[in-house]
Symmetry: C2
Subunit: 442 residues, 2 copies
């Protein structure tokens, strides 16, 4: 049963009618007959039922006004909408939808945003993508990206694999922005060799809104999937608050750096791979240092027993013992500065590493590189077995370690994997301009 968001009397009402979110229903309320899809509700009023009408609008109806309600068709979310795929047998780019704002509509009754349930709806937001080439679609899941998990990453990797096997030259993954960089990293480690680009795309403003970045981002993503020369996992998101260009970021070097701006995604410790110029409809490469297209290789398996530990003064050291005894196999420390914690942690990390837990160090500064040889604390930690992870982003290190744990039997192998640049996640050389320019007044 799925009656997400319903509580109290509306929940009882819908249960008694054996209805589920997504079901097509016909109802009569105050003499009016309506047809539509039962939507999830997060109304504060627990008597409200939300229906998405055929014209696309949502309507909230109080149950005491509903005189009749009947089921027209049961909802069934197919894991793969093969029907849709068959329709576009010769598609060049496939859009795999996982949910998120780019696949969302505003819930009329509550004003809130909910993931939509079909990829066709996405294409409707920007019908011009059809001019780029043949596009097909698949609704893989419809979740808000904060609910992404390692096991879903495996499903996304499988869907990407299927899409390439069907003959597409590039794949677009529509995804919520919250955890998009985690999924991008997961795909990057799972798909070490690709016959074409895998482009994750999202939007910061819902597609129904005039200020939405969804259409342009989606166009740029499909264009990149078809035309880019690389076989890499990338993220396509607005480069500025204007609509002038979309940045194509390497999936393992990018962070969501703002809660709401359209240009929230920015490359850290590197430059984006390319930018898509909107008015010229042109992809401009910013680097020639990318992975060429190759044979498809896929190996998507993750061991989620990893903890991300962001250090702060006063953090109790026993968290490390707890994580170790609790069966965690890896800890990514987000340390201070060049890669530090309070020195009392050295003993705890020693305990962890001796029990076979991998402990890796990244920096909460985000920019720059870990260097644990400068200060005594760093050397203490090194001696305790903590592994410095260069300029890897903490979030990327977490995903890489989850992949590494599922693939490497010995600690030696795992360590070697973690400090090796596998897919651009470690950048050996930093340029001055990688650090952004802050405004310091005039």
């Amino acid at each position: 049963m799925n009656l997400e968001g319903y509580r109290g009397s509306a929940l009882e009402f819908l249960k008694s009618k054996r209805l589920n979110v997504g079901d097509k229903v016909r109802l009569r309320a105050k003499g009016l007959q309506l047809e539509g899809v039962l939507m999830p509700s997060y109304s504060n009023d627990d008597r409200i039922v939300v229906i998405k009408l055929n014209n696309g609008y949502n309507i909230g109806i109080s149950i005491e006004n509903i005189s009749e309600i009947e089921l027209i068709e049961h909802f069934q979310l197919k894991e793969t909408e093969t029907k849709t795929s068959d329709q576009f047998k010769k598609s060049e780019v496939k859009i795999i939808s996982t949910g998120g704002t780019i696949a969302s509509k505003i819930e009329y009754e509550t004003g809130a945003v909910r993931p939509a349930l079909s990829t066709e709806e996405i294409i409707e937001f920007e019908p011009e993508i059809r001019e780029i080439g043949e596009v097909s679609s698949e609704v893989l899941m419809a979740i808000l990206s904060e609910n992404m998990k390692p096991e879903y990453w495996e499903r996304v990797a499988d869907a990407v694999t299927r899409a390439f096997n069907e003959g597409n030259v590039g794949v677009v993954v529509a995804h919520g922005t919250d955890t998009m960089t985690f999924t991008a990293a997961a795909l990057a480690f799972s798909l070490p060799s690709l016959p074409g680009p895998v482009v994750l795309v999202g939007s910061q403003r819902s597609s129904d809104r005039p200020s939405s970045d969804a259409p342009i981002n989606l166009y740029a993503a499909v264009y990149t999937a078809k035309h880019a020369p690389f076989g890499e996992v990338v993220i396509a998101m607005h480069g500025t608050t204007a609509d002038d260009y979309v940045l194509i970021h390497r999936g393992v070097k990018v962070r969501k750096m703002h809660t709401s701006r359209r240009d929230a995604f920015q490359t850290i410790n590197g430059l984006p791979l390319a930018k898509f110029l909107w008015s010229e409809k042109k992809l401009k490469l910013l680097s020639s240092d990318y992975k060429r297209k190759g044979e498809l290789k896929v190996d998507a398996k993750f061991d989620p027993r990893v903890f991300l530990l962001k250090f702060y003064p006063g953090m109790p050291v026993d968290i490390v013992y707890w994580l170790t005894d609790r069966g965690f196999k890896g800890i990514i420390v987000e340390g201070t500065g060049l890669g530090h914690t309070a020195s009392e942690f050295a003993e705890a990390f020693k305990y962890a590493t001796e029990k076979g837990v991998f402990v890796g160090m990244t920096s909460q500064c985000l920019f720059g590189r870990v260097n644990m040889n400068v200060y005594t604390t760093g050397r203490h930690l090194l001696r305790a077995g903590v592994v410095p992870l260069e300029d890897m982003l903490p979030e990327v290190a977490v995903v890489k370690l989850m992949w590494g744990l599922a693939h490497h039997k010995t600690m030696e192998e795992l360590k070697s994997f973690m400090i090796t640049n596998v897919t651009g996640e470690i950048n050996a050389r930093h340029l001055e301009e990688y650090f952004p320019r802050w405004h310091h007044g005039t």
Copy 2:
């Protein structure tokens, strides 16, 4: 006994002589007679003893070459060097040293950096600060800042209080850069009203190095402490990689954003309060929105039972139950995007809040503001009692909560304190230019 860093035969040797780090010693090695201070050692060679000679250089001597070693004077770190303070009875600015790179010398033998033991040494790095006014100093502690703890914040607040009570118009706190923003926030909440500026200062490059930012930062800090019109806790650090100006950041709105650059400290979600122009030796205010000087009020007490939880896909929800049952009184969540975690955390947070744990939400984006009303997950979390903390930095929220827990008896009071802008940690209005400009190629 303090023989930090010594192991093996050097440790045994020094123990047998009953010597401690910091002791003044005289020794004879290969016919040479030397006098100096016994330094900590982190040599990989465990037979090496490190002595700081009177000329300031460190020397490493293997114990088999030491024919004689004798104690001249026991080391005693006075909590307050009242002697020093007395010497400068009429000082205008007091420098309180806590340690860190700005108070560090390179360890000659190992090439590593160690905190120095006297503030007078700091003044020596930039004797020109004496031209600003009468300067006095106090060595409060000599630690690397990653070893800072809430109980030390209380000691720093006390030292600042003493300095103002002695008649100084401003106070400088020399501090390691790793956790400088945490201490700045702690002082800001502990000193809600100040008769003058409290300026934390550090350096990214050790004072012995020609590229050191220490002299200019220190000059700017002392100048600001004496001349700035505000009664606020600020951080003075290089504004660019050149030596053109030092930024004066509000202590609760700044982050160390790079592991090694001299302009690592940048204001987030706001503008710096001022900049100190080096060649003109002039302080330029960037804002008139600051706290005026007032009567000294101090109330430094922290309850460290707070955990900073940075969310990532795959984070096991039972960490929240563990933290609650383990006696933590507060959790600051560093959520994704507008302030989210996987929705399954809602139930866990409900458990926590019902047990009297304060749960506050910040964003790992760092820039922008938490808004938990946009998506269903956010509203779920709100209903579970999670408190959205606006645009507060996660680190600042941790410190504020530690202070709040030590001062507020009821949850209502604590919540109200946490969502109120107490000292500039919440910025109601964001300007376009607060988001830095990233380089996107040409």
